[in-house]
Subunit: 327 residues, 4 copies
């Protein structure tokens, strides 16, 4: 565990983070790396890392915080923000609803049962593919460019796309193609299927580490304002909408349980990342990060829902210890 | 609008609340009173009332705040709290999950599709009937008694059950009976069907006014602590769980949109009540009720989702004006 | 094997029927008796019996042909005929459709998915309960009386109701109650739920043996005409409708496979009975029962679909040997 | 109406066929031509034609019997026969079931609800695309060639593919692509999606007239034997299987009603064709075509289920007049 920038952080605090990571790392054995994307299967399932960033620049890092991984579903949050920024919220919400579903992330059933088949939210694949198609620009390249510009503004460096992961996903994306063609038929997908999938699967293949997603979580916590660079990256109303979506739909089919026991807006990906946003909160006790923070976690061993096994346990421990819940 | 107890409330504030209620009352015409329960159909659709209570006892009341109505689905929150109090959270969660569904409140489909048919959450009827059956006591009377005791502790008076509404619901509860028999078959309902329905439909028929539900909302906002009576009514962990459920599932199939645009834990009933809990929040601007509050609204004209048409509009206006969102 | 009434039947034929029954009896081990109705679980799973009756009175009997069993779902055919007789076909078809579903016999999903929730056919429970409620007479007793009169006309003796089986089913009929209350809510069930279930579950508890159902199958084969008593019991158009329903929906979720490989209108029950109707057919070869026949089979060990394991195998063997298919 | 080949047909009979066609033509106004395939929309909705062929070569033709149309879903019958011929029945049935569904022909729901997602029958699109992929040959051309050879053997001329219709379908086949990618993911589709769709959509675009499909219906009626060319085209067991499928699933979601009121194996297409197979039957009265026949009908104005409006009415009239039912 490294302590940076600030002296006031209690050293005992840093020590216990290392202890926590050590403790929860042993639970990585309860899950396994995602197998349906060949490139993800190669990850080291015993890895577990965390980065917490406060608005004053306080940073706590521990374990495999530097490991690089692809965003996967975490990217759904970024493309939703970018689409709202460029198209306006009403335009986006005409094409995707905001309701949680209780269905698997790749389900088609609800599209068929509920005419006219508008995707229920931007965090399930049907909604995320629709949202990716709304990014500005004519070509997939232009659309990805606009997404990368947004990310660069937040994390301070140009993100790279892992081409191997993209190709691996592209070749096995039968279910996503099924969803996209279904959306094409019902008229909710205006872009060509291949183009929409190229954008979607490439955004899933954007590489980050825990520090990057902690920073994005922090900016969301501060309603689109970058407290370190002191710049409003996106409007408060987009940030609020996004955090509500993360809370109700961000952790796949465990979103309700996550909201109940952790109580924070978060988004996970099958690669093992969890991006969490902790808004400032009123507490009478002395607890860390009262002014909010962003938390990035990486642990590629995932549970039956698709969430990092040890990552969620570690986050629950921290949320309870520091009383982070928004409720 | 009446201003009570405290002198420091800005009189302009009280005036604008009256103006808001007047304004949104005109939108009651966009909905209609619930028709599937004969006794509810008799309500005056033009009514709209509100009560806001702060932890220091500040109260703002306007419109038809004194009107009496039956809790209907709002009671699901109370029976969930009571069941958790008496059985413990793990016992309750073995019999009902915490996931939002996107299905209508009275849907059976998911019980059949997802073996073994555990109800997805306590805010849909299948889950609420299960929870009611878990209230302590052998007989329906005893179970209702334990619920009434909890409510009395919070609102300071013994609640009454509207027998006419109960009988009306009892006679037309075919769909709820279908759900209960389904739960009986799958083993999630341990009580006899008729007994479980008696408890459930009687709790739905408990009479309240906006002040009562504002007070309950306030206690939830303060994690189970009654800030006026200065007493912990139920544990913080039960309060947190309950507020997360209200946020993800409390406003029927508009819960996601409500979380996105209002951002508060709330529970509505088809009788037109909306109980909202506003936790304390960190804000730099001078805004009312920074230490949180409870908001009770009544407006029996409901929309397609089952939520008070004008009530939700009024609440959205207040939430935006006072920046009440938890996100 | 006993040969009755007629001399012209080849004795070798009788011998091979005994051999077939002996052979297929060993396959009863591949299934088990229905467990969800306590009274059915007591049956002897090794039993297998058959009765074939031709229009000239030729009868072939073998194995446990004399064993008594309750009709269960086979009764759905009889109540459909009785309802059509007394109400007219159009009246009945306004309340139940004629389409196969592919769903389990006790499914609710389709009632909810397809508004307004008209049961898809009279062979699934939702449709059968609706049909039972349409039998003539005000009380359950009167309705059952009209059904028993029809059966008596066909089999020549007054049927008895097994009260022990009825009580056993009545107490465990949670799923059927769920279906009935659902139908009550959607308006397709006009009778009170308890009354409709009493009729339905009592008709399921009517006792028969293989000779009885063979006779009913024979009368259906001859379009409602009793070739032995030489009397038209019900109109040809009712018989045709009924046989088409048996073919498309009579063997639970194996109806399609049964039609494909056996090709005969048949109805099974979870008690292990299979009632089959073999219409006259044009064949150039010398084969038995060219003028059609009825086949009754009993074998209480049932497969995953609810059909008699050994009974279906035996029937397939006979259908292929005697080229009985209607196609 | 033209009478060919045989003298013994009653001339009055020919006259009434013309009268029937005239009568039912007026009902074409109750439907409309399929709109989802642009090329089909151009058809003349007032057309109605019929051809009946008996095993002795008797032919009755009336109305627009000579009009050319694309087979559309009728081709599902032919590719099923061809796949069974070349792969054997067990191989085909490992990849597609034989159960009717009650779902729309292009539904995905059941594939997702029922793991592992095996298509329920070869008459819905999911099953038909799977079956087309099983035709012998490596390339789409080879697979279509084997299908065309089978058809040529039956109708005596090489069928042509309407390239305009094929291109039109290819460009709008989003839903079929969604189905095919879904099948690809679950492993039931072994061929590449584009290749399977090329075969499937080209077979749908094969041109026929009522005489062609009447002939195929006749051969099916005679269990695969061509009574005019006196040649066994395919085995009896394949014919029986095919006819049972047509009866249980051949007329889209009206298959059950068609079986009940017409009682014949038939397959319709959205282009307005209906291919019917009438097996020989035992009747005491003097009625036409006792030795069976094939009936081809064309009427491009279709009903809500996708079946020729006037065609089904005409067929019902004939089936009742001539007592054609297999039951």
């Amino acid at each position: 565990m490294r302590k940076e920038d600030k002296d006031q952080t209690d050293y005992q605090e840093m020590d216990y983070m290392d202890a926590w990571v050590r403790h929860y790392r042993s639970f990585t054995a309860e899950g396994q790396c995602a197998t349906y994307i060949p490139a993800l299967e190669k990850a080291d399932p015993t890895q577990l890392g965390i980065c917490v960033i406060g608005p004053d620049g306080t940073v706590i890092k521990s374990g495999d915080w530097e490991a690089t991984f692809t965003m996967q579903s975490i990217s759904k949050v970024l493309s939703f923000i970018a689409a709202c920024l460029h198209r306006g919220i009403p335009y986006v919400l005409e094409r995707v609803d905001l309701e949680p579903t209780g269905d698997p992330f790749n389900s088609i059933i609800r599209l068929e049962m509920h005419k006219p088949g508008k995707p229920f939210n931007p965090m399930i694949n049907a909604g995320a593919i629709t949202v990716s198609s709304l990014l500005p620009g004519e070509s997939p390249q232009k659309k990805l460019e606009s997404l990368c510009i947004l990310i660069e503004k937040m994390v301070g460096k140009r993100p790279t796309i892992n081409e191997e992961v993209f190709r691996s996903e592209w070749q096995t994306a039968h279910r996503n193609r099924a969803l996209a063609y279904y959306l094409k038929e019902t008229g909710f997908l205006e872009l060509e299927v291949d183009q929409a999938l190229e954008v979607y699967l490439k955004q899933c293949s954007i590489e980050v580490n825990t520090e990057d997603i902690a920073l994005i979580g922090l900016i969301l916590a501060h309603d689109g304002y970058h407290p370190i660079r002191k710049e409003q990256i996106f409007p408060k109303r987009v940030a609020r909408l996004t955090k509500s979506l993360m809370l109700t739909c961000g952790m796949y089919n465990a979103s309700g349980k996550f909201a109940a026991f952790i109580g924070l807006p978060a988004k996970s990906g099958v690669s093992g990342g969890v991006m969490t946003s902790v808004p400032p909160r009123v507490r009478t006790e002395e607890i860390p990060f009262k002014d909010g923070c962003g938390i990035g976690i990486y642990g590629p061993s995932i549970d039956e829902y698709g969430n990092s096994v040890a990552g969620v346990m570690l986050l629950k421990h921290i949320a309870n210890s520091w009383d982070l819940s928004i409720f």
